[in-house]
């Protein structure tokens, strides 16, 4: 049902070599009523590209993100598809076929994640420093304690958090600070891809702005690719290179941000764009009366 032509799927459309290729990925939830949460998803992520993944609650975008990193838990099951990681060294990794310890090596080093709502994503009984430290210990066993400490302080400073906070516990930090810590942690090993799942949704708009600016700035410095998942389409229009729109488990549109904004091909994308009220001008298609009317009738 998607309106994507094969050429648009390729990252080559943006002129960047691909770092991640997802082909025909399907995820099924084996519950009482088995449901296909992700249907035949295919796209390519260019090196250093920001790919936005938009859609409403329940469309499957988070499931897709988890499946790429094989973080999905039963009853979710990948029923078909392929995920290829094109390492900067030239090696090609089949993520779905990796063994347990290879997967552990791969995770965070090549691909890291920032989760939705850092309220619970940090271990409440260990300090921030300890949580940054154990990541380094797991992936860089050669580092000395002093070197690890220095690196942890470095990433914190980069996101604008005082390195003295290494000794703090998660509950002692504000929401915005915790999210910054999560981003810092995701950068620790300088991955090539970062998947961010609604990283700013739980924060107020001012903090949101700050964090987004950090993300864009860091990406310019370190040149990692980003898959940015959110339901906030206008946000993606501002920061993404390309945007993929998901509906009920399928990617229904995938195009350059500017093109999508001006000439959305799929009717769902058009409805999504029209539903966000603007600060000035037309009222938009935001339904007030409780029924789904035709947009023309509103204005």
């Amino acid at each position: 049902m998607s309106t994507i032509s094969p050429e648009r799927l390729e990252a080559g459309a943006t002129g960047k070599p691909p770092v991640l290729s997802v082909r025909g990925l399907s995820v099924v939830y084996e519950s009482q009523n088995p449901v296909t949460a992700v249907k035949n998803a295919s796209f390519e992520l260019g090196r250093g590209e920001i790919l936005g993944l938009a859609g409403e609650s329940g469309c499957g975008k988070t499931t897709l993100a988890y499946a790429i990193n094989r973080l999905h838990q039963p009853p979710a099951r990948i029923s078909s598809g392929q995920v290829l990681f094109h390492d900067s060294s030239g090696q090609e990794l089949d993520l779905l076929g990796l063994g347990e310890s290879q997967l552990r090596d791969f995770r965070w080093q090549k691909l890291s994640m920032v989760f939705q709502g850092a309220m619970n994503a940090l271990n409440p009984v260990r300090s921030i420093g300890a949580q940054l430290d154990d990541t380094l210990r797991a992936h860089a066993p050669g580092m000395t304690r002093a070197a690890r400490r220095e690196r942890s302080a470095q990433v914190l400073t980069r996101v604008g958090v005082d390195p003295g906070r290494l000794r703090s516990f998660p509950h002692e930090l504000s929401g915005g600070m915790r999210q910054r810590v999560m981003i810092a942690m995701a950068m620790l090993l300088e991955p090539q891809v970062m998947i961010m799942d609604e990283p700013t949704t739980a924060l107020d708009v001012v903090v949101q702005r700050d964090i987004l600016r950090e993300i864009v700035r860091l990406r310019e410095e370190l040149d990692f690719a980003v898959i940015f998942i959110t339901h906030d389409l206008p946000l993606l229009l501002e920061i993404s290179d390309r945007i993929a729109v998901m509906l009920r488990g399928e990617i229904v549109e995938l195009d350059q941000a500017a093109t999508l904004y001006r000439q959305a091909a799929h009717p769902y994308t058009r409805k999504l764009l029209a539903s966000f009220p603007s600060l000035r001008g037309d009222r938009g298609a935001f339904v007030r009366g409780g029924t789904a009317d035709d947009p023309q009738e509103q204005s």
Binding site: R107, P124, T135, A138, H171
Partner: protein, 329 residues
């Protein structure tokens, strides 16, 4: 700091409640304990003077000449002086001496058993919750059987099987009576030998609760976001199990340790009876049989203070282990 003060305050109140209970109970119940006591005392060859009667009346009630509040004050005063009266069943030893001799036996037995039961139970519970569906998980219903078993019956069964049947361990007593008590080799060895069955009883009966609680907490904890993050970070499974999952899942068990200690103490009283173990529990029971009210009150007091002190200790440890309590205050 706030947390510590609150806890100290609570335990002060609990202590006061226990002391007051101890004071009220003999006065509330029918019968005149003082008369019975004095009769018993005379039987044992003690002398009954007006002072003796007065002393016991303060402890147990029955002297209507003084208002209740004065009696209460006298009772508390005696307590702080360390005067708990003279034991009838172990006449002429004062109550404090009887308790002092038997307390260490119970403390060691109950202390070691509880720690063993908690340690083993939590460890097994961690693994059962980590990999649901393994053989450990099918162990869980079996532990419910053990948890429902009366301590003393289990003791009887163990004695029947291991002592009478196989002759592995002695069935009675705290130590071989021909030996001299003291810190010498043969005595300590004998003490340990005699402690195995009672300890085994307590450990087996108490294990199930710890196992189940920890297992259920592990199942909850494993679906938390921070465990997902740990996995996404590519940390080794063992590390996640220990530092992310178990570390959080064990918190309710620590909080509940204090409460279960109360139950273990209750169970050990009966266990001591079965084994004629010279602990404080059997003293209590001897006191009840002999209408030795002073000793009864004294033992109850000591048991309660010990349990409260242990609870306070565990609560303070919890404050160290869970950093969030320090912030909440």
């Amino acid at each position: 700091m706030n947390y510590v003060i609150r806890k100290l305050g609570f335990y002060a109140i609990a202590l006061w409640a226990a002391l007051t209970l101890n004071f009220i109970i003999p006065r509330l119940l029918p019968g005149d304990p003082v008369d019975i006591l004095l009769a018993k005392l005379q039987q044992r060859g003690g002398s009954v003077t007006e002072e003796t009667r007065k002393a016991y009346s303060i402890l147990l009630g029955g002297d209507d000449s003084q208002p209740l509040i004065v009696q209460y004050a006298g009772y508390l005063g005696n307590l702080f002086k360390g005067d708990l009266g003279v034991s009838v069943s172990y006449f002429p030893a004062p109550v404090t001496e009887v308790i002092g001799a038997s307390m260490p036996w119970t403390v060691i037995l109950v202390g070691v058993s509880t720690i063993l039961a908690a340690g083993i139970g939590i460890l097994l519970g961690t693994f059962a919750g980590w990999r649901p569906g393994t053989w450990l998980d099918s162990l869980v219903p079996a532990t419910t059987l053990l948890a429902a078993v009366p301590y003393f019956w289990l003791a009887l069964v163990l004695v029947y099987l291991l002592s009478r049947g196989l002759g592995l361990f002695p069935a009675q007593g705290g130590y071989d009576v021909v030996l001299d008590p003291g810190f010498n080799g043969p005595f300590l060895l004998s003490a340990i030998e005699h402690a195995v069955l009672p300890a085994l009883t307590i450990v087996i009966a108490a294990l199930g609760g710890w196992l189940l609680g920890m297992r259920n907490m592990m199942v909850s904890t494993l679906s938390e976001d921070y465990v997902l993050t740990a996995r996404a970070k590519g940390l080794p499974e063992r590390w996640i199990l220990r530092n992310y999952a178990a570390r959080n899942a064990v918190l309710p068990s620590v909080a509940g340790f204090a409460i279960s200690l109360g139950f273990v103490v209750s169970g050990s009283v009966v266990t001591e009876q079965v084994f004629s173990y010279p602990g404080i529990g059997s003293r209590l029971l001897a006191a009840v049989t002999n209408n030795d009210y002073a000793l009864m009150q004294g033992v109850f007091l000591y048991i309660t203070v010990a349990v409260l002190a242990a609870n306070l200790l565990v609560d303070l440890i919890y404050g160290l282990v869970d950093p969030r309590t320090r912030a909440r205050g």
